[in-house]
């Protein structure tokens, strides 16, 4: 397993599912592309490894959040493409709400702590 930059492993693991859901919201994608996009959107902060991503994809597929199929890519290589299921879309909304509420709570706490200092 590789480094997770500054982030703690647990946090990265916890955010993997909402991240994949969010990335697939815009359309289907394959493993390597997802890894690249995560790196891009986090400005290099988050660097997922394949060893971490594929098991997550596997579990999400098992849970019915995403669906996959093998296809030949434009570069003439076999790739497994993932896309959201309807259930996955609904789960994305729920995840988003949960993370926003955590984020707003943290913001408030930090604001008060900053004031106290």
């Amino acid at each position: 397993m590789r480094r997770y930059a500054m982030s703690s492993n647990t946090l990265v693991a916890a955010s993997a599912k909402p991240m994949v859901l969010a990335l697939l919201l815009s359309g289907e994608s394959y493993g390597y592309e997802i890894l690249q996009r995560v790196r891009r959107v986090s400005g290099g902060e988050l660097e997922w490894s394949s060893a971490m991503l594929y098991p997550v994809l596997r579990r999400m597929e098992k849970d019915g959040l995403i669906h996959s199929d093998w296809r030949v890519s434009e570069e003439n290589r076999m790739r497994k493409y993932y896309r959201l299921t309807d259930f996955g879309r609904r789960e994305f909304e729920r995840e988003k709400a949960r993370w926003l509420s955590i984020q707003s709570a943290l913001r408030k706490v930090w604001a008060t702590s900053a004031a106290a200092e």
Binding site: E33, S50, P55, V56, R58
Partner: protein, 871 residues
């Protein structure tokens, strides 16, 4: 590193990954795709292939670490659901693609498993007999043994006083109980009468000795009163409905008994079966039998040994006791464990041991069932190895992508176990469908639901999995050892020479086993035919034995013209007791030959159409014949010494029907020609006839009016003996019943033969199809060159037929040896001859031909242009 090296590096990397248990093929494929993307990216960014590969694999991490990550989502673990699911998928896919072959393997396994499941059901049922008694392990039945010239006479009824004497005299015997079913007829209460209820007569200790739990009443005292009766729940409901039966009075025959206990119904797996029990003192009253006489043999006797007592020591002490009491130096007592009574009894006077089983028959059929399962496993092996050419490529590919030999073995074993489990599903359906037929053949009441008792179910699953592993073992190891390079190059096709020899060997073995079954069935059938048609020396057709309850009854029946003749006599087929002692002038003191005692009036010759060899039979005109004359059979005449026995004086000591010892002297007036008194298993015994003492009447009925005469007899019975069941027996039926077990054996053996033949033919069909497929091109060329369809069929069948014939030849010695052993059990038997062997050969060749010809004909009549385009 050039592109070629890169590919090689990726292959090696994948092989490393494949060594990790959690990384299935599909994960590896996806990781590979990712790796290739990363490598391509890096090369695009200017790295050389070597650097790109190194960095990309480093980014992915160590295979072990990757494996650990995947292990987290992979559940359950290896050999668990996921893998099983994978095997199931692959197995199902293969089956869909090769319906014919799958049918052959699965149907074969199903038939084999169905046989095994049936046998397990039967065996567990037979072994469950009499296991419900709390002290069962220390209870033994006493069997009296008297050696004679032919072997040892074993009697299920030992001397009546032996039980009590043993308890009071031997410390090893803790308790005893005597039992028999009585000849009392009918249980009545008011206007309700039940004439077929079996009435047990026993010592008062019956309910404390055996475990037949009482629902009401005290087991210790229930049979203390001489006129007490303990009835089963079912009989209680029939007699009293919902009312309390305790203390109620009911009538057995003509006497009144008070209900002192209600017991649970006798379990189905009990060798003793009855619907009520009365104290044995009643038998004494009814028959005036002398229970104190050591010569009386009326009851079965059971003893319970004290804890720690040695059964063989107890047996020798009991033998000593009986020798002293009977003054017979060669008499002995054997202790038969209670759990053996059902399966291992072959004794005289054992009529209370209901629904006897046979341990040897059970063993024979268990072996037969296992053999059929083995045949099915062989089919599986044969077809799987034969078709390995087709799967060879798959295995080659898997090996190239990094699968190890053990993975291949596991996969194939998994697949074969799955096929066996599918076979089991089909087998259970089969068992469900044929169980009623089987029950009918075996005379059992096996229930399908019993299969689902945990012990039996575990056993069935065990056998299924083991046979799956067995069937899959050879193909699995054989496939796993393929050299991928050879297979993929196409130089491998359907196994080498070694495999072909093995396949032929297995086919020969299958057909040898089948021929063995066929020959066995034919010989058993021949012997039964022999029994049916053998001249017994007497004519028992259309002779019935019955009873008269009064002079008027007798006169009314005998006056009817449809009764051609009648005789008060013991009848052929009936069990006879031997005389306690027979002596004559000039008898050697060492001669202990037992003589059977029979009774007959002058009409015996006419009723049974027996013939005299010498002298004359009893005559009404000779008054002294009634008390002083004896007729012996030819065997007895030989025992009496050389020369004519006529005029010899015989002093006979015998037990009367009441158990008293009586000694009388008779003069031999004639020699009757030998006839078979009992089964053909036994040699003809020496017999002595006297006039007095017969209490059964035998009637020869006009064959033209058989049915109406029986109806007439029944009508007369009902008018003279109302309220009692009509007692009558065809002597033929009685003699026929000796061979009931043999007929069952023949029927079940027949079923097994058909199944074995079916399974073996399935295998042959599969192999013929495979070979026809392999020779498609050859057949096409031959056709183009002018071969006829018929010639091609002959060409394809010739080899198979040679195997089948070889199998038959191999089976002959074993089959004849086994059949000879079985026939040895009969003192008189048919000679097996060569015919069964020839018939078996003919039959197996015919059936084999039928299964081969279909495929061969199809191959031979196919359009040659198509066969040539094949491959």
């Amino acid at each position: 590193m050039n592109m070629c090296d890169l590919e090689k590096a990726i292959r090696n990397w994948k092989r490393d990954l494949a060594k990790n248990p959690s990384l299935e093929d599909t994960y590896i494929a996806e990781l590979e795709a990712s790796l290739r993307d990363e490598v391509a990216d890096r090369i695009r960014r200017g790295e050389n292939p070597e650097e790109a590969f190194e960095h990309a694999t480093a980014d992915l991490g160590e295979p072990k670490a990757i494996d650990a990550e995947f292990a987290k989502v992979r559940s359950p673990r290896r050999f668990g659901g996921a893998l099983f699911g994978n095997y199931l998928r692959v197995a199902l896919r293969k089956m869909r693609r090769q319906k014919g072959y799958s049918f052959i393997t699965i149907a074969g396994l199903a038939v084999g498993l169905a046989c095994c499941v049936l046998m397990m059901l039967w065996v567990t049922d037979e072994l469950s007999y009499d296991r419900f008694h709390a002290n069962g392990n220390s209870i033994y039945r006493l069997i009296a043994e008297t050696p004679n010239q032919a072997g040892t006479m074993r009697d299920a009824h030992p001397a009546t006083p032996l039980g009590p004497a043993a308890k009071s005299g031997l410390p090893e015997i803790q308790d005893f109980c005597r039992y028999r079913t009585s000849s009392f007829y009918g249980v009545k209460k008011g206007d309700k009468a039940f004439l077929d209820e079996v009435i047990g007569v026993a010592d008062p200790s019956f309910f404390t000795f055996f475990t037949f739990p009482l629902i009401k009443g005290d087991p210790k005292t229930a049979l203390d009163g001489p006129k007490s009766v303990v009835i089963t729940e079912t009989l209680a409901r029939k007699l009293f409905g919902e009312a309390d039966p305790m203390g109620q009075i009911l009538t057995i025959t003509v006497d009144s008994y008070t209900v002192t206990g209600v017991m649970r119904d006798v379990p189905r797996n009990s060798h003793l079966r009855f619907s009520c029990v009365i104290p044995m003192v009643n038998m004494h009253e009814y028959h005036h039998v002398d229970f104190e006489s050591w010569n009386s043999k009326f009851m079965a006797a059971y003893v319970r040994l004290a804890s720690g007592a040695d059964p063989s020591r107890a047996a020798s002490k009991l033998s000593g006791l009986i020798r002293a009491k009977l003054d017979k130096p060669n008499a002995a007592i054997r202790l038969q464990p209670l759990k053996d009574v059902h399966l291992r009894s072959d004794f005289a006077f054992d009529q209370d041991n209901v629904n006897q089983g046979s341990a040897s028959t059970l063993a024979l059929f268990s072996i037969a069932a296992a053999a059929i399962l083995l045949l099915a496993c062989i089919n599986f092996m044969n077809l799987a190895t034969a078709r390995s050419a087709n799967r060879g490529k798959e295995v080659g590919l898997r090996k190239v992508t990094g699968a190890r030999g053990s993975d291949i073995v596991r996969q194939f074993l998994g697949e074969s176990v799955i096929q066996a489990l599918l076979g089991l599903g089909l087998a259970l359906l089969l068992v469900w469908a044929i169980l009623p037929l089987f029950n009918n053949l075996a005379g059992k009441q096996l229930e399908f639901v019993r299969l689902f008792s945990p012990g039996l179910l575990a056993m069935i699953l065990g056998v299924t999995i083991v046979s799956g592993l067995l069937a899959g073992s050879y193909p699995a190891f054989c496939l796993a050892s393929f050299q991928p390079a050879k297979v993929l190059k196409g130089s491998f096709l359907g196994g080498g020479r070694g495999q072909a020899v093995l396949r032929k060997g297995l086919i020969v073995f299958q057909f040898a086993l089948t021929a063995f079954f066929i020959i066995g069935t034919i010989i058993v059938d021949k012997q039964l035919q022999f029994i049916r048609t053998k001249n017994l020396g007497v004519d028992t057709h259309q002779v019935v034995s019955t009873a008269f309850r009064s002079e008027a009854h007798q006169n009314a029946v005998l006056a009817d013209p449809r009764i051609l003749s009648s005789s008060w006599s013991t009848s052929p087929g009936g069990e006879l007791r031997e005389a306690l002692d027979v002596s004559w002038n000039g008898k050697s003191p060492d001669d202990h030959t037992p003589f059977l005692r029979a009774a007959a009036d002058p009409d015996f010759l006419e009723v049974f159409r027996a013939k005299m060899a010498e002298g004359r039979f009893f005559s009404e005109r000779m008054k002294s014949d009634r008390t002083e004359a004896a007729v012996v059979n030819e065997t007895a005449a030989r025992v009496l010494g050389p020369g004519s026995p006529l005029g010899k004086r015989l002093t006979i000591t015998a037990m009367s029907n009441q158990g008293r010892t009586e000694t009388s002297t008779y003069t031999v007036i004639g020699v009757i020609k030998d006839f078979h008194q009992t089964t053909l298993r036994q040699a003809i015994d020496p017999m002595i006839f006297t006039w007095a003492g017969a209490h059964g009447i035998n009637l020869r009925i006009d064959a033209a009016h058989l049915d109406e005469t029986i109806r007439f007899l029944e009508k007369e019975w009902k008018s003279y003996v109302p309220g009692f069941p009509f007692v009558f027996n065809f002597i033929d039926d009685q003699i026929d019943s000796f061979y009931k077990q043999d007929r069952k054996t023949r029927a079940i053996l027949g079923v097994f033969t058909v199944l074995a033949l079916f399974t073996a033919c399935l295998g042959l069909l599969g192999l013929a199809a495979f070979i026809a497929e392999k020779r498609t091109k050859e057949i096409g060329i031959r056709k183009v060159l002018g071969a006829s369809a018929w010639g091609l069929v002959v060409m394809q069948s010739r080899e198979f037929l040679a195997w089948v014939l070889l199998a038959n030849v191999l089976a002959w010695p074993a089959a004849y040896y086994a059949a000879g052993k079985w026939l040895q059990g009969f003192a008189y038997h048919a000679s097996p001859g060569i015919v069964p062997a020839l018939l078996a050969a003919l039959f197996s060749v015919l059936v084999a031909l039928l299964s081969i010809t279909y495929k061969a004909l199809r191959a031979a009549t196919a359009n040659p242009t198509e066969s040539l385009r094949y491959e």
